[in-house]
Symmetry: C2
Subunit: 495 residues, 2 copies
């Protein structure tokens, strides 16, 4: 089912079906490649199925409708049967060098001569791993990260006998799977990533061993701080920015002396003039023509995006942000003065964010409705139809929306909404929002919305109750004298 021009294999063999092997199986299957798994675990089919279900869910969220029909999944009775017809073999067995050498030799003996053989090893040397193979040139390390179906990184490292062609082929296969190969140019134990991860891991083990902190405290020390940055920028670029306007050289001057301090059990290399020059030059090259200021903006945009994403998950730093917002809302309610119900209501303002911009360079259409939806929520909060009222089983649902998109608006523009209540009865509330650009007070859009009051458990409309009913009636009366907008009640007609 793969395209003729695709670098993807027709059939992949997965040797070892643990967390990593199952993740590989899912990546290949979801990209349309047939997969044969070998693992002696009698529960292997169930375990691969669980990981595949996770991977399918992720793919549906990230590339909805874009993937080709799934490849076929089967299980082999032996290693030799699994690799016999495979074009690409991914080995993900336990990290025991002798065992891997033996198994890779058996794979090599049983696989078609043209198949690429990749090992998922986290840090064993490919020169050693290929030592028992008849065709060692086709062995490469392809080291992924868990969950394999979500994290793009895969380290590619060859041994002394590995061919450049094999590494290039593996590189092309991994890219076609949506991954981001990192070519490890010098063979070293732990490659690049795991040297860094292993340093964190060992320092963390010392902290537990020495009774300094618990596993939870250590995890919190990462996920509420540096971990947020590491999701999009590595240590070197982050520290370049920490140097302020003077960049990496300034950072090294400021924090170089700390390399002598016992801030970890790992001894630092000597910060010689030569090393400083190398670091500054590589950092300059890495940053390219992008100024510190532009990198700061990108860093902040990414942090904002990540924090908002995690707030929607109510997890980690996102949970902190959510609780902070709730506290600010409570403080604000305490501070806010009474709203004048006789005028169009100014309950919501916001700013156009970069992520709201579409390929035309303007705020994308659904964000107009998001802003109107937020203004509707602000009005519902005003009349008491939020929070506890919703938890008690009542709510207003929007059942109809009419938007006129009147003007474009760009990133960074401040927006405000004026809201007029066009009418209300026991069950219904009809709102008219006008969206203004603050800078020139021009009207960007209008939104007319019919809301129905519902009993959430019964799933049906019902009259508003208690104070909310009173507040709606009071608000509708207060606004009744306002002129009716020309656009109210309009429908879409093709001239």
């Amino acid at each position: 089912m793969t395209l003729s021009s695709s670098p993807l294999p027709r059939q992949a063999a997965i040797i070892g079906g643990g967390v990593i092997g199952s993740g590989w199986a899912a990546r290949f299957l979801l990209n349309g490649v047939d997969v044969v798994v070998f693992d002696p675990d009698p529960e292997i089919a169930r375990k691969v199925g669980l990981v595949l279900a996770n991977a399918r869910r992720a793919a549906q969220a990230l590339t909805p409708g874009l993937l080709p029909p799934e490849g076929r999944l089967s299980f082999a009775e032996s290693l030799e049967a699994a690799v016999g017809a495979a074009d690409f073999i991914q080995e993900s067995l336990p990290e025991r060098e002798d065992f891997k050498i033996e198994m890779l030799a058996r794979i090599d003996a049983a696989a078609p001569a043209t198949a690429i053989i990749a090992s998922s090893t986290s840090g064993l040397l490919p020169t050693r791993l290929q030592s028992g193979m008849t065709r060692p040139q086709r062995l490469v390390v392809g080291h992924p990260f868990n969950p394999v179906y979500l994290l793009p990184l895969v380290e590619i490292c060859g041994g002394s006998a590995s061919s450049t062609e094999a590494m290039d082929q593996a590189d092309a296969v991994y890219r076609a799977l949506g991954m981001r190969p990192l070519r490890v140019r010098k063979e070293i134990d732990g490659f690049i990533a795991d040297r860094l991860l292993e340093a964190v891991w060992r320092e963390a083990l010392w902290l537990v061993t020495d009774g300094i902190a618990t596993t939870e405290e250590i995890d919190d020390a990462i996920r509420y701080g540096a971990g947020l940055r590491w999701s999009f920028m590595g240590t070197f670029l982050i520290y370049r920015l920490a140097g302020g306007e003077a960049g990496m050289r300034h950072f090294l001057a400021q924090f170089g002396p700390a390399l002598k301090l016992p801030w970890t059990k790992l001894e630092a290399p000597e910060l010689t003039d030569e090393l400083v020059e190398t670091l500054a030059a590589q950092s300059d090259s890495q940053a390219g023509d992008v100024s510190i200021r532009d990198l700061e903006v990108k860093r902040d945009d990414c942090l904002i995006a990540v924090l908002k994403a995690l707030r929607e998950q109510d997890f980690g730093a996102g949970a902190v942000l959510k609780a902070y917002g709730a506290q600010l809302s409570a403080d604000r309610a305490q501070l806010s003065e009474a709203v004048d119900l006789n005028q169009p209501l100014r309950l919501h303002q916001t700013t156009v964010l970069a992520e709201w911009i579409d390929y035309n360079g303007h705020m994308t259409e659904s964000r107009y409705l998001q802003v109107f939806g937020d203004a509707t929520d602000a009005l519902l909060a005003l009349i008491g139809a939020s929070g506890a009222y919703v938890e008690n089983g009542f709510s207003y649902y929007t059942v109809e929306t009419h938007i006129r998109h009147l003007d474009e608006v760009g990133q960074g523009e401040a927006l405000r909404v004026e809201t007029q209540v066009l009418g209300a009865d026991a069950k219904r509330l009809r709102l008219f929002h006008t969206l203004y650009r603050v800078r020139d007070q021009s009207v960007l859009a209008t939104g007319e919305h019919m809301l129905i009051h519902v009993d959430r458990k019964a799933h049906k409309a019902c009259p508003a109750v208690g104070e909310v009913a009173n507040a709606v009636a009071r608000l509708a009366r207060a606004q009744a004298h306002l002129p009716r907008p020309d656009a109210a009640g309009r429908s879409i007609q093709l001239g």
Copy 2:
């Protein structure tokens, strides 16, 4: 302007206005606290202003409209003048122990006796820092992370003379600023976070020193892999999940032997039975009652959310994902069979994600328009009005939308859209989308949309050009025989 019940100080003094000090100034100001900054740098006002501008932008994005009026910012001519009327003092001077001890003694002598004095040191010991102070009990470490106005983590650590009351007060102040204090229970060089960061940093410096990898390759090894996980889960919880169904014990059994391998220059502690027991017990306690399976789902949900957020930023792993999606789209176009233009068009399907759910437990209203917008985009791709056509200066803009919200839909439901072209002329395209729940084929909503063809540079409507004009005409003719939906042309009326 702060509330009477707020733990926030009335006035904060910021001693040292570099990247960290300026970040602190912004946090306090944005939360309504008056700030006095002392830094001998003649450019201090400009530098603080730049950081404050970044912080304002972040606050507008994360807590729009929720913050109190900003505090007043001023600059003092001397350290003593800065702290003279402060309730809370945050010192962010260079990491030289002698210098900090001297400055903290001067702060102590000049500040009101009740003020809390916090040091931003990354790793110097508070017992040493407070050694020159007359009132050492009020000195605490409050170690933040750059950018201070975005990252919530702040490590609180007391010295031998620090009072619990001072630490509690600092804790309350930081929480009111939206931060997440981590109490470092045992005083140690580098505290907790910087011991981990410093281990990464030193190992990374070795990799550059030894010529293994460049700064860019090392950064990539983090940001495309483990860094994505670290934005919401620390190493211990991540490795618990890497152990699969058997959890931390299995992980330690599998990767314990690797602690003996030269995968970093840092020696690991002995993985004794006692340490394994401690780690497993702490990890169990950390995970609480949440199963491995539920943690996996949360991990994946957070990774999906972070990847999507970074895709909108077109940065790091988000850029990889974006390019992958583009490649899949191209492959799909190549694979897709001719669409039957005479029937309602099935161009888009998706699944309701957790983040689409609102407080009522159903898909929130703006996501309906998002789905319709995606279906519109799929139709525009079909007629060739996407990609290069847009880059060449033409596009269709939605100018009017009418949505009927007919039924609720919950998380995980598969959705599909059928699209009917109601009419078209040279400049206009009128679409009618019907949103179905796949499970029972029930209709969830309809969306009627008027699109105008525009010259993007001239900012005005113009006739569609070339193949797109032909495709629109062909499509409108092919669909003309289809029955017109009852809801087409409806307007909103209040009974």
